[in-house]
Symmetry: C2
Subunit: 274 residues, 2 copies
Amino acid sequence: MSGNTGDDGRSVTSRVLGILDAFDIEHPRLTLSDIARRASLSLTTAHRLVGELTEWRALERGEDGRYSIGLRLWEAGLLGPLHTRLREIAMPFLQGLYEATRENVHLAVRDGNEALYVEKLSGHRSVPIVSRTGGRLPLHTTGVGKALLAWETCDHVDQYLAHPLARLTRYSISEPGRLRKDLQRIRSRGYATTQEEMTLGNCSVACPILDAEGRPIAAVGVVVHTVRVEPDRLAPPILAAAKGIADRLAAAGDDPYPGYVHDLDLTKRMRRRS
Amino acid sequence: MSGNTGDDGRSVTSRVLGILDAFDIEHPRLTLSDIARRASLSLTTAHRLVGELTEWRALERGEDGRYSIGLRLWEAGLLGPLHTRLREIAMPFLQGLYEATRENVHLAVRDGNEALYVEKLSGHRSVPIVSRTGGRLPLHTTGVGKALLAWETCDHVDQYLAHPLARLTRYSISEPGRLRKDLQRIRSRGYATTQEEMTLGNCSVACPILDAEGRPIAAVGVVVHTVRVEPDRLAPPILAAAKGIADRLAAAGDDPYPGYVHDLDLTKRMRRRS
DNA sequence: ACAGTTCTTCCACTCAGCGGAAGGCCGACG
DNA sequence: CGTCGGCCTTCCGCTGAGTGGAAGAACTGT
């Protein structure tokens, strides 16, 4: 850009993205000074960039002067394939799973070494749970995570096992050898289970959504309270949902928004008016 | 910025946001040239900015070379209050409504002169519908829209009626007088209905979620096929859900993420490991 | 009254960002 | 099998948009 002093090779774009990076689930609302500090920007620069972002509504300013992620950014994010394609196709199946179980239903993808939760459905009767839509959890302590890992290539598994495995409860599998054995069993059985490996008192059953080449695209899972768990009863509907989603995904090809047919007509109708 | 020629006062930030603006639901996947054209950027500039955005994963590049909205942007958008606060609190109530009706369940807020859909639940048995999470529809042709408008201040209503009212079906209310009367009836009855005003064959029932001052924060609604409609039977559970959400919102105060209690502990536990 | 925040505005310096040009790659058409 | 018209990518010299310091306003708690 320009500037008179201490300019490390950062571009304006990287600064803008750094501002977005300043927000996370533990810091969803920040003051201007917070943002400047967390993004390593001078207050002046933060002030100007945040001002522009706020005008576009990428950020919004609350009554207390603090900033949070804005409406437009939320809206833009929902145009991504994770939402318009994967979630759109999966949703009816997830609802079906919810109706059948009334428990927490999850849809997740693998991103790096974490399970990224694309959708989470839960009602009043479901067990309270740490996952959230847009959240991340370890692969080896969650049902969906283990389902994603088990069908991954050996290289990926090796790479994952090379890092230390977080032990979140006393039941978490933190030894590479035991995890490898568990993944083996999961693959042969067709679905993954966890028993209080993420949270004491909670268990889960999950299975992968595979593409035509057998690679795991995503995983569907259900989390229940330990006393209610019956994997044999839970697995069949989850397997069916995963199969259903996989088939619909394959059928949709690379259509970016499979559920959008006559909406095109609608937008035309709406446009004609204005 | 800088640059040697034709530089209208656009900032780098505005260009970056212009790139995001180039994507919409009808154009979720764009080539670099598409982006440059739609955002009025030179190909060179688009190339550089898109490159930076892709590196951060605000955008992602498909196998065919086209760009779409990336994972990180989706993730960032979900940190906004619409998702972490409103949706988080509303979700169990929406699920309850879905269980009770098995129809399309909507949660929407007003943004400008449109209803912005924050959440949409639908199963296999639900009527196919044009709404989508993150989508926008007119206020006067949708149940949630009318519910939002009916409790709005007179000024807002006047302002809305000043613009022409899109007539999307032959049953859409496009005369300001008739709409005003309808809103009056909605307010006195406590909930809104539509009868094929958005889509032929579909009807809806919706009611507002009001804050302590009686202002409409959001609206919950259900869309059903005309032959199945029984507003008197649908209204009570919807009213109850709206009331429940309103109470929980009021109880949460301005806690940015009311459903997040012991997750803080979890992230600490996860961090300790790495 | 004071020390500590916060946010905002002003300003002169300068390098990051700009777009044109040129070249490579692909598929379509004649 | 050239040629055209799309794409995308890299290179390069010019320059004004972006920079951070300084100064001060506003607000808070002590």
